[in-house]
Symmetry: C2
Subunit: 97 residues, 2 copies
Amino acid sequence: MAEETAIRKDENVVYIGKKSVMAYVLAVITQFNNGAAEVGIKARGKVISRAVDVAEIVRNRFMPDAKLKGIVIKTEELTSEDGTKAKVSAIEITLAK
Amino acid sequence: MAEETAIRKDENVVYIGKKSVMAYVLAVITQFNNGAAEVGIKARGKVISRAVDVAEIVRNRFMPDAKLKGIVIKTEELTSEDGTKAKVSAIEITLAK
């Protein structure tokens, strides 16, 4: 799974942040409409649950034919401005047309 | 993936709630120590990110040989006391010894 997602172009990734779920749903659908064969939904920390919401809403409400190609979870290390490091969980959900 | 997890006994499931991450990490490790070949980590809604934390901490810090057997995401419908229904995303992460 990791290898498959690694070769995908970065432009086909939607990074989940603090916007509304529907903003990211729209971003995913837009990427598919622009010709992407697959779209990665990436999130770190507390917004991981929002990434799952986005994937589920895209599949259940807008693109019933979209396939859940893979889900990867991992731990990333962040370095803050003062140099301290913190580990944070991350997820990448890949949808394919 | 869904079929594999469906036949697993319910007792080998850790449901993520509002306790600390380490409480659930301990619950997972305890189930493995009691003989479980695999343990499911289930969460709904905002605590989905905590389920990912639990799986990552178990694998990275306590059981480096544990395998990530599968990750399933889905949408569940909850009915509240007044009868209104709400959809909520859910995740199940299965770890195997």
